[in-house]
């Protein structure tokens, strides 16, 4: 569809002519760079270990030894970013434990999907068994007729609207960040990438468990709250992943 056909050609041409007169560049305020640099430097202020003379001598003479270059020489597991990644992972583990306890207290089947999407034999609680949601393509434990569980394929139960909105919002937000990360994978330092992937895997498991728990208890405020926080942790982790150090950029 040609949107321009709806307009008077003379008017449209007048607008185009006015646009051509607009400057392509506008000089920024003189203080802009100073403010930008200060904000960047303040975000890079960290408690760094005292540099030895050897570390300073290792710096390439032709390069400016910035804080980032100095920081890259610190053992990767001591870097604040890595510590944050590990902390996020530990939080996800704690979240998972809380989820499990919540479900046990509600007397639901504590079935958790494994890495291959199949749910192992579930522990049957004292109260009537309910069906837990599995990952798409996976299987869940159906309400057993006997004490022995069987695994059958069942469609996922529809979640309540507010929770579904949470899923949609965070899924959209993490998707873009995940794509950026995937595009950078081959350039990231292996040690940092390994820590990141481990943390993401743990957080994703916590998210899956929360979602599964919500199918049986969609109004459980504790689980909903934990799910939101876990999603936020994942977002924060992916954002911080953009700052992970890379291997040499030289072709």
């Amino acid at each position: 569809m040609n949107d321009e056909r709806e307009f008077d050609e003379a008017q449209l041409q007048l607008l185009r002519d006015k646009v051509k007169e607009l400057p392509t560049e506008v000089a920024p305020a003189s203080v802009s760079w100073t403010n930008i640099r200060d904000r960047i430097e303040s975000s890079r202020v960290r408690t760094l270990p005292t540099l030895t003379g050897a570390a300073q001598d290792d710096a390439t003479p032709s390069e400016t030894v910035s804080n980032a270059v100095v920081e890259s020489r610190i053992q990767w597991w001591r870097k604040p970013r890595t510590v944050t990644l590990i902390a996020a992972s530990l939080f996800a583990v704690v979240t998972s434990a809380v989820i499990m306890r919540e479900r046990d207290e509600q007397g639901v089947v504590t079935a958790t999907a494994g890495d291959n999407g199949r749910v192992p034999e579930a522990r049957v609680s004292e109260s009537p068994v309910t069906v837990a949601e599995a990952q798409s393509g996976g299987t869940v434990s159906a309400p057993p007729q006997s004490a022995r569980d069987t695994t059958v394929a069942v469609p996922p139960r529809r979640l309540t609207l507010p929770v579904a909105q949470i899923f949609a919002q965070y899924s959209a937000a993490t998707l873009d960040l995940t794509r950026d990360l995937d595009a950078r994978r081959s350039r990231l330092q292996p040690e940092a990438l390994a820590v990141l992937d481990s943390c993401l895997h743990t957080i994703d498991q916590a998210i899956q468990e929360s979602r599964a728990a919500l199918t049986d208890a969609p109004d459980n405020a504790t689980i909903i709250g934990l799910l939101q926080v876990t999603y936020k942790q994942k977002l924060d982790l992916l954002r911080r992943a953009a700052d992970l150090p890379t291997v040499s950029l030289q072709d």
Binding site: D3, E6, V19, V26, W33, I40, E63
Partner: protein
Amino acid sequence: MTEDVARAQRGDMQAFERIYQQHAGRVNALCRRLATDVNRADELLQDVFVRAWEKLQSFRGESSLESWLHRVTVNVFLAAERGDKRRRAHEDVADDDSYELSAITAPVEVGDRIDLERAIAALPPGARMAFVMHDIEGYSHDEIAAMSGIAAATVRVQLHRARRHLMEALT
């Protein structure tokens, strides 16, 4: 990928400053037209380059650095608008239908560049962004959609709306 970009990606602040000096004028022109006043434009410019520093590792050289900086600008602008919108509890930036010409109390003078800038500043954020990126910066609907995460069809609608209001203001 230029040497300055590669060095800045490794944390060289002086290299990043050279990048800033080279591109700040173009980026600032874009910021001036996306934001509604000079102060907000200055803030947007600073936010853009701070964000560019943070995200520079994601620049792979597949597009020009200028296009990449424009993408960062659009994203920072839209994020700020969404934040403002949440605080004002208004409708969505990309789909807003309400628009009042009250900000323009009199037809702009034909041939007055500054008044066109003012007329652009008076547009709703979504329409303003679509017009600036398409008719001024020269990006296609699909490119704007990819930059902003807004559907190309919505970009077309917003652009049409912006042109209509600007032409009314110019006559």
